[in-house]
Symmetry: D2
Subunit: 351 residues, 4 copies
């Protein structure tokens, strides 16, 4: 399956790494390093992440990919008899091939609202569980999982995140934020949720690299020291401990130098805004109104056939017999030329 | 923990990638690719591996690291009530933090002989199990795991591998070979076990990249098509499916171009031979006589303290109150200069 | 928590065993038997169950309780990457404390309709999964689980069961029926689903004992021989293999002698019908109209407080701020006197 | 497989229950009870066990069988990355079909000495683990499992148990004692280990019922309150929560009334001593010298063929080409007549 002649809007992980990362990989390629993230570059990266998140005592670990990170963190924080609360559209609910259940834990789903959990619905669920006379025969909710941006590219407000934190505190369970696309939230004018706010509200979160400028890699942050004892061993047990751990440290050290991570996503947001405006102007209907780098469009199937000849996109779901929801994603690597070419195709297809 | 001033002999994964790999990474960095190994470069790499192994119908998958690969393959091939037979020194037995048990399977250990399983002991064990009146209350051996080279750097003979194959066939269970350091076997004059022989004898094996010239990555080969149904999903479930799968394909495509994989390990073997000869000449005792890139030496603790100031090595185990077994490892990246410097330190320390 | 002075309508497992079972337990108490169900009485019970189900080649196993049986059968029939489709109200979905996830499998829920799965919704779900471009990143539905009667005491029609069978066959996955309360279906005039029909339509099912006249025990039937290889070992692995297996065989041998199992539930159904009629006559509202031994009533909370002083019932769920749904259950052990006393209390409470 | 004409020495679970238990089962059969062990009889049994063990704050739970109990307790006490230390002959090591691994945990075996762990070897192992530079890549020992009597019928001394306790305390891990055959220890003159001593030295233990006078059932004791939070839910998750929990409570209430449990095993010990003496007198060789109710004899195969026609025994292991180790077990139900008949057969066979 080659897509080299198609315009690359299928996902935000279609290209390699930010040039600054490749440059450092080349520079350090023959420098001997100790393994498993015990090297000095990884340590420097951790220090920079702690600073950016304003949590000086945080434990920071580097893993390879998103599903792996979710499964490892969730297994580390849950007791054996607990499950994780998530939106029914959450990545862990639907698109991780049962990685959470493989670790023995149930995903306890609540209905999503444009991809988000509603804090008061979480509170009601946790409260009802505690009052349920049958609760000892049920899976105890042991943490809350959210993603920011969500699967649908939507954003939690600062008030929502603070309220989720309060609720989790009140029910004595951790809050975990999946930031696979966090750079695109941070680059978004509508975003109210900064790294320090996330660190203040969450017991664990990860800063996405794979979709945000690295070749691969996700940085897990536990703002409170020793929140997840023996996490190194848990990583190993999950096959999530990279031998050449400095490759991860180096990439995050680069992203957290000179604030790169916080502005890396801007071209993606600008491109996505341009595309959203054009789509509406050309008469297409958006499936969701989202402010980040993912665009969900309802396409007539006939037009989709023509689009498919020139654009690489993601199938999302069937809308009705004659329409399909597709996803177009921009990324840190999207160029103005690609965007303009896409607009031209969309304009042509819309006729 | 920085080791930049020390001579790098602690492991064979202390440096980055073969220069040819870095070059291709740079060249393809901005070429859009589809994800998860569905790209054309990964397909080309699979074709080259099939050719090198002379198994044209093989299924080939690329994973990130060794523990992850062992756990994913073993979980894919075992029934829920089966365990895996391994040497008591096997990587899965000792140094994978329980990754196999995390998947629900017992590691059934047999005594090692210089790191190897003895075929007739495997046969006796499987035969005894089948005859045991209590077998239905026990974990059924469902596959045999070996590594080549072994944890101790030793090599199976062609006759041993063929015999293990026969035994597994007779007992109707698969044979799985962990080739994390396979390039160092292939580069070794004593080695009798070629890629085609491995493919002919094993139901599954992996060709190591992380320790053999890539940044990361292991190539799993199932010589018979469809031997592990839904392996892609099983990888996802294990957090072992790399989003930017072409990074793995590209690295293995490079290693399997112009026979690079089969001669990449030669400098390591030459360096190791030189070091082994020098060690014996200087009066040190080898813990194991091994032909590959790992050297196990019994060091007086006092000398070790001096060595540690100049050489990065691996602690292996305590030998007695006054001696320690250490491992020195060479790699594809070891230079003649490094080897000569090591010899000088060893000569000095031996005095 | 003693309930000895309350009328026993909280569940259908509040009393011991049918007197014929206790009698045989006493008679055989000092007869030495081989363990683990390898005894002659267990073999006789298996033969009687095969005859009653008209499946002469069936494999029959005896386990101790319902959750244990569901988990063991589901783990035996699913591949590691598969999940089980169930109604969102199914026992495995809600009230088994995550026993299915403990075995590594996801419960894939569909909306219930009075406790039942709709066959066409199952078909649509399985068909959509197979067409989903992301299916390899998702949990594959690997079997369908239903219960008869359902959690809400409702019954599948013969046509529905046949259609579920057809659908599962078409999608090449097994159908599993949880018959924890099967005796109450068989005793019910509305029931169209006989033991032979179940055996013809299902790949696995269990005949409930715990709620249907035994001290404990469930009989698992695989109508096709060798459908679940090594099930004995899987039972042991799940802690589900009773040492004194003949205790289970003896109980089922008794239930399947002279058709006891098929008429044992009649008094429960008659009592339940009497209670349902009285409830409606007294002005109570039923939450569900069900034909079997469970009665779901919406009670004003004030009346419930009074009821609680004389009747042992089950809390089901809050209905609204002023009403609660409760369950009253009759059983094989319910006496006409108990039923009349309950009616008197209900009449009094309704005033 | 019928053994009704054979003398019953194959195991200690070949007969039903102590008559006092059957009597109470009959008496309470129609008394309604609340489920899951929340009844008054279970509560009374717990109080009696606490008194007998002199641990007034203990949490006591009733489970159905030994493998189930081991798996549930071990899963409850271990963190996800920990394993359990056991003798290589331990029941959990060999004869539970991988139930511990099914829960995700490795059994870390040490060599047995007549079935026992040596305290100093446990200490050395735990100490070495903590000093091992690779420990973060290994399974951390998270508890120690022993059985008393052991698989070979041997007994720990009071000093050994106290020392194991000290060692576990020093290494901050729990000690768990499997008392499946505890009544036979308590009835043995050589035994130094009382229930209060066990409660003082162990973090968890279970008092065996299945092999010691009940139809089924094991009583788990956690001497310190809340040592295993949510154990009720963990039992449910493991399929180990009996619906009619009072059946377990009633049996243990009977065993702990008037000290029955502590003298119930005496006839078994007397019979075993008689048999051991006779065996030696007739020229047989004991495989192990054990003081409890299990007798391990090395039998010439030819004599074994004759024995098999009249005695039901257990195959243990092949000794050499011409001899087999068998186990003869006595129980609370063994009669003097059966013992005398066995002696006659043994005398005859020995000729």
């Amino acid at each position: 399956m080659s897509s080299s002649h198609l315009l690359p809007f299928a996902s935000d992980y279609m290209e390699g790494a930010h040039p600054a990362i490749l440059k450092r990989l080349a520079e350090t390629n023959r420098t001997p390093m100790p393994g498993y993230g015990t090297d000095a570059i990884s340590e420097a990266a951790r220090a920079k992440i702690r600073a950016a998140c304003q949590c000086p005592d945080a434990d920071v670990y580097f893993l390879v990919g998103g599903t792996q990170t979710n499964a490892t963190v969730i297994d580390a924080l849950l007791a054996s008899y607990q499950g994780v609360v998530a939106a029914d559209t959450g990545h862990i609910s639907l698109h991780e091939a049962g990685a959470i259940e493989f670790g023995g834990h149930k995903v306890l789903t609540l209905p999503h609202h444009s991809g988000k959990l509603r804090p008061e619905e979480v509170n009601a669920y946790l409260t009802a569980f505690e009052a349920d006379g049958n609760r000892d025969h049920m899976v105890m909710p042991g943490m809350v999982y959210i993603s920011h941006p969500t699967e649908y590219g939507t954003l939690y407000t600062a008030a929502e995140l603070r309220r989720l934190h309060e609720i989790c505190q009140a029910h004595k369970i951790p809050l975990f934020l999946d930031g696979a696309r966090l750079a695109y939230a941070l680059a978004c004018p509508e975003n109210e949720v900064s790294l320090p706010l996330i660190a203040a509200c969450c017991d664990a979160f990860y800063i996405g690299g794979t979709k945000c400028g690295t070749l691969f890699g996700e940085a897990v942050v536990f703002p409170q020291k020793d929140r997840a004892p023996h996490f190194f061993t848990i990583m190993k047990q999950h096959g999530a401990l990279l031998a050449k751990g400095w490759l991860l440290g180096l990439q995050f050290d680069t992203l957290f130098t000179d604030g790169l991570y916080e502005h890396l996503g801007r071209p993606a947001i600008q491109a996505a805004d341009t595309i959203r405006n054009a789509l509406q102007q050309y008469g297409y209907h958006l499936f969701f109104k989202t402010p980040t780098n993912q665009i969900f469009v309802i396409m007539p199937n006939e037009q989709l056939d023509r689009l498919a000849k020139e654009v690489s996109y993601s199938f999302w779901e069937a809308y009705d017999a004659e329409h399909t929801v597709i996803r177009l994603a921009t990324s840190w690597a999207t160029t103005p030329e690609e965007t303009q070419q896409l607009l031209a195709v969309l304009a042509e297809t819309a006729r």
